[in-house]
């Protein structure tokens, strides 16, 4: 385009010179014939004529006309859009929302699944470890990474040739002593090759050198840029300073001094959210807890993941193991670095951090953008109703169809440009927002508007511009064609034209219905979640997982430890109440009275200490709470959630009914002999946070017994301060020496459960709000389009009325057509909805993807819109004087 302009101006200058030389020669010739200069100049000028006219007519010959025309169309379009600020705002904003959301989601997908890892040779980086299999409930086996020992790693290093560098990365507990409190850090231990494999050049200082890994070398640490900025405010004098680290969380544990030798740039972030790296010193890990290691390696040029895997498998078979621990390695796992970083992502489509979840979201936002494009196109078309005349006149005056199409494209382009610019701003904010969502941050996925995302936005906007122009363009070109055939194209709606616009309407109704059902289902699911969401009060709750299954300890030891922990927690200032609980995914069997109707289902059986309902503020709906004697005797009683009650005794009083609980989840159709038979004594609200912990949503609580399972403490505090959380942590630290082998309660945190729910709700709400806007637009667009198609028939209706038709029969005629279109559109839309809801299925937990209320409601709404949109303009048409209707133009 710039080149074109430049050529245009050069051409213009050349022609000026050509004219000047023409004039000069004419003057010279006259002077040579003996005329005076003045006379000659005047005569030559007169002969030459108006220079501007010559210039303009000649310029037309250059083939640059389209450039001028586009400039003209652009001015015309801008003027028209400014004259209709309401339309412009609605169109641009709906596109902005669509483009913004699509670009944001694309940025997330790009950051998570497309963008190359920021390392040179990223495609040759692999992570390797041994794997074992473990039996999970019900006889199923699950593969898990079992790490790699230093000895095995040494063998790998020695005997393989597929790699040109390899290092061991070990994650071990390490704590930083600060303000009378130990803070857990993520400081993996790595070998000297680590940074060269990742291609990391230190920002300041140095990386890890081979001499750092000698057994008696001084301990050194390299910091990540983020940690350096946070803790040392980017102080360059940090090099050489000591960092006091401990290996356990106890304040009394011995400190080791590490010297800071360098800072690595931000892009070096392996294995995810590392705050720094410790040089691994060879030799026995004296006094350290066992860590988990894996190998990081770079494939030799020409080697593939498969060839490396084959070689490593062969090496692995040669290793004989003296010591078989609790988990025997059964194989190896060789993954690309990206696969490694993305491993452990849940396959839960609601979560933003799963590949499928991102794909579903991208599909949803793209679909909404599509609707927005079609709607804006429709609005343009509806607006062009009064333009048919203009088109007819222009065609009669010789305008080409391409010329008309060009003008519509420019107008669509203007709207798309406006929408796209706002959309990019929306996306800029959107990526910042999504980056702050915990799920993504935890995975180290940082979406941002980079060059590729910007390019995507530009391509998307161009596609949108073409899309917007497409519908009205088709229609206008057809109008132009009509006017060739007949002098007054609008006496009646021609057969062809009515047919095609009818087809368009059917498509529109179908698309709107598809969107409506999708949004409706999401909305219903959300309302359901919301309604159920507050049966407990998650504010100011701290969840302290024990992370410890008292393996091999006697029941007495466990009971003692827990009693002690409870007593100490209660003494902490700021702690309001505490409950001890054990959570167990179980098979439950209801209802036992009728053996023919016995049903197995999954249930979360929670063993609780006294005061559980009060502590979590879960309401008791019926029956009674547990009594002291229930706890004292471990009575076989249970309180079930109202969901469970409603599902299994919908028409009966569940109090007094029997339920059988079998620990562990299996597929046995009937209870095992050792199952607990419990009597229901009460019904409580739904503590549905358990779903977020991965437990079945149906819930049952029973007095604490020696069950096995995930356990921990729910601590209600006031106020919810960092000091209280720290005090809780300290309490557990001093409790050590109890039967714990590993201290994962250090992760005491502010109710993760609630946060997850809140995030889920937030993203769902955003989607819902978005869908609501789109539904509104779809309804408006549809109304506009139908009303326009009826308004087109004003003259026809006028003729019918003039010929004596009754207004009732005319109305019937028009609305019958609307009804027919609506029926066809709804049939089409239902088919589309089934496809869409197939995609949404995974997002719906409690709502059926074919929910009849949503489907029927959406269809009714659209049918109503179509009828109202055909009826109102038709009635208006029957009421006007036929003579005026005939003159309408």
């Amino acid at each position: 385009m710039r080149r074109a302009w430049w050529q245009f101006w050069r051409r213009e200058e050349e022609f000026a010179e050509e004219m000047a030389s023409h004039l000069a020669m004419a003057i010279q010739e006259r002077v040579a014939r003996g005329e005076s200069i003045e006379n000659a100049t005047a005569a030559a000028r007169r002969e030459f004529g108006n220079r501007e006219v010559v210039r303009a007519t000649t310029r037309d010959m250059w083939g640059w006309v389209w450039l001028e025309q586009i400039a003209l169309d652009f001015r015309y379009a801008v003027r028209k859009l400014r004259l209709a600020p309401g339309f412009t705002a609605v169109a641009a904003l709906s596109l902005a929302i669509g483009i913004g959301a699509t670009v944001t989601m694309y940025a997330v997908v790009d950051a998570a699944d497309i963008r190359a890892l920021p390392y040179p040779n990223a495609d040759r980086l692999v992570a390797m470890e041994e794997i074992g299999t473990a039996k999970v409930g019900g006889g199923a086996f699950r593969e898990f990474g079992s790490g790699v020992s230093a000895e095995t790693f040494a063998t790998w290093h020695r005997s393989t040739h597929a790699f040109d560098a390899m290092t061991l990365v070990t994650l071990r507990d390490v704590f930083l002593m600060q303000n009378e409190e130990n803070e857990r850090l993520s400081l993996p231990e790595v070998g000297a090759e680590f940074f060269s494999i990742l291609g990391g050049v230190p920002l300041i200082g140095r990386g890890i050198v081979p001499s750092d890994t000698n057994p008696d070398a001084p301990a050194v640490v390299v910091l990540s840029q983020r940690f350096w900025m946070e803790r040392f405010r980017g102080d360059r004098g940090v090099i050489g300073r000591p960092l006091q680290l401990t290996r356990t969380e106890e304040l009394t544990s011995p400190r080791e001094t590490y010297t800071i030798v360098g800072v690595m740039p931000e892009k070096i972030d392996y294995p995810g959210a590392a705050q720094g790296w410790i040089a691994a010193r060879s030799g026995p890990p004296a006094g350290r807890s066992d860590g988990i290691s894996h190998a990081l390696a770079r494939l030799r040029q020409g080697q593939t993941l498969e060839s490396a895997r084959a070689e490593l498998s062969a090496v692995e078979r040669g290793i004989t193991r003296a010591n078989t621990g609790p988990f025997r390695a059964t194989g190896i796992r060789v993954q690309s670095l990206r696969a490694r970083l993305r491993a452990g992502q849940p396959n839960d489509p609601v979560a933003m951090d799963s590949v499928k979840g991102r794909a579903v979201r991208l599909a949803v936002v793209f679909f909404v953008l599509l609707i927005a494009v079609i709607n804006v196109g429709n609005l343009l078309l509806a607006r062009s109703a009064y333009r048919d005349h203009e088109v007819a006149v222009r065609v009669a005056l010789g305008a080409s169809r391409w010329r008309l199409a060009q003008q519509i494209l420019v107008e669509g382009g203007c709207i798309a440009l406006l929408g796209g610019s706002i959309g990019v701003a929306v996306a800029w904010w959107g990526t910042k927002f999504t980056a702050s969502i915990g799920d993504l941050a935890r995975q180290g996925i940082v979406p941002s508007v980079d060059l590729r995302v910007a390019l995507f936005a530009v391509v998307l906007s161009i596609a949108v511009a073409l899309g917007i122009g497409f519908i009205p363009m088709l229609s206008l070109i057809r109008a132009a064609g009509d006017s060739h055939r007949s002098e007054s194209p609008r006496i009646t709606v021609g057969r062809t034209r009515a047919g095609v616009s009818g087809l368009l309407l059917v498509g529109q109704i179908g698309a709107a219905l598809t969107l409506l059902t999708g949004a409706g289902l999401l909305g219903r699911e959300l309302l359901r979640l919301d309604a159920r969401g507050y049966d407990y009060d998650p504010t100011n709750m701290i969840w302290v997982p024990n992370g410890q299954t008292f393996h091999g300890q006697s029941a007495d030891v466990r009971r003692e430890f827990r009693a002690e922990a409870l007593a100490r927690l209660k003494r902490i200032p700021g702690v309001v109440s505490v409950s001890d609980l054990e959570l167990c995914g179980c098979n439950g069997f209801f209802p036992l009275e009728d053996k023919t109707k016995i049903t197995r289902f999954l249930i979360s059986a929670i063993s609780v200490s006294p005061g559980f309902l009060t502590n979590l503020r879960i309401p008791l709906r019926r029956g009674r709470d547990f009594t002291e004697s229930d706890f004292a005797t471990s009575a076989p009683v249970a309180i079930i959630s109202s969901d469970a009650a409603g599902r299994f005794w919908p028409d009966e009083d569940p109090i007094g009914k029997q339920v059988v609980v079998t620990p562990g989840i299996s597929f046995r159709p009937d209870p095992k002999p050792d199952s607990a038979h419990l009597t229901v004594v009460g019904v409580m609200g739904n503590p549905n946070f358990l779903g977020a912990l991965g437990s079945p949503p149906l819930t049952l609580i029973r007095p604490m017994t020696a069950a096995i399972g995930m356990d921990g403490y729910m601590v209600r505090v006031t106020p919810d301060s960092a000091a209280t959380i720290a005090a809780v942590r300290r309490t557990f630290a001093t409790l050590r020496g109890a039967p714990l082998t590993r201290d994962t309660y250090g992760s005491a945190q502010k109710m993760v459960i609630d946060k997850q729910l809140a995030e889920q709700r937030l993203t769902t709400r955003a989607l819902l709000a978005f869908a609501a806007v789109a539904v509104l637009l779809a309804t408006l667009g549809l109304h506009g389009l139908v009303a326009y198609s009826v308004a087109q028939r004003t003259r026809e209706i006028g003729i019918r009325m003039a010929l004596g038709a009754e207004s009732r029969s005319v109305l019937l005629l028009v609305t019958r057509r609307g009804l027919g279109l609506a029926a066809a559109g709804i049939a089409l839309g239902l088919a589309g909805s089934l496809v869409l809801t197939g995609m949404l299925r995974a997002m719906l937990y409690g709502t059926s993807p074919t929910d009849p209320v949503v489907f029927a409601g959406s269809a009714m709404l659209l049918a109503t819109v179509v009828l109202v949109a055909s009826y109102l303009p038709a009635r208006r048409a029957t009421r006007v004087d036929p003579m005026i209707a005939l003159r309408v133009d």
Binding site: E14, H22, A24, A26, E29, F48, G49, V53, D60, M61
Partner: protein, 121 residues
């Protein structure tokens, strides 16, 4: 450009004629715009006055159709002038237009029974 005369309006016909005259003139060798105008004038013995407002659009149109090509040269008076010359495609076009014009003028002549020799000698 050879179109059926029936589909041409008056302006197009004149333009077509001017195109023919320009191509005919350039048959004698490269020439600049002023020179072309003077030659047409001289060869028609002042009967045909070529307006610059018609000449230059015609020249630029023929150039775009690649019937003629243009170069900047320096004239004997040391002036930069744009000189047009006939291209091979232009020569073919000239032949086609000549035969079309012959038919056209015959048709006109037989209709109008003119005093022969006034404008076409």
């Amino acid at each position: 450009m050879p179109k059926k005369p029936a589909h041409q309006n008056r302006i197009e016909m004149l333009q077509g004629t001017l195109d023919l005259l320009v191509l005919q003139t350039l048959r004698w060798g490269p020439q600049h715009g002023y020179g072309i105008a003077r030659m047409i004038q001289a060869n028609s013995q002042q009967a045909l006055q070529v307006e610059t407002g018609s000449l230059y659009p015609a020249l630029h149109r023929l150039e775009r159709k690649k019937f003629i090509a243009a170069d900047w040269e320096v004239s004997e008076n040391n002036q930069r002038v744009r000189v047009y010359r006939l291209t091979p495609a232009g020569k073919k076009q000239l032949a086609a237009e000549q035969s079309w014009f012959a038919k056209f003028s015959d048709a006109i002549a037989s209709m109008a029974k003119p005093p022969v020799g006034e404008s076409d000698r």
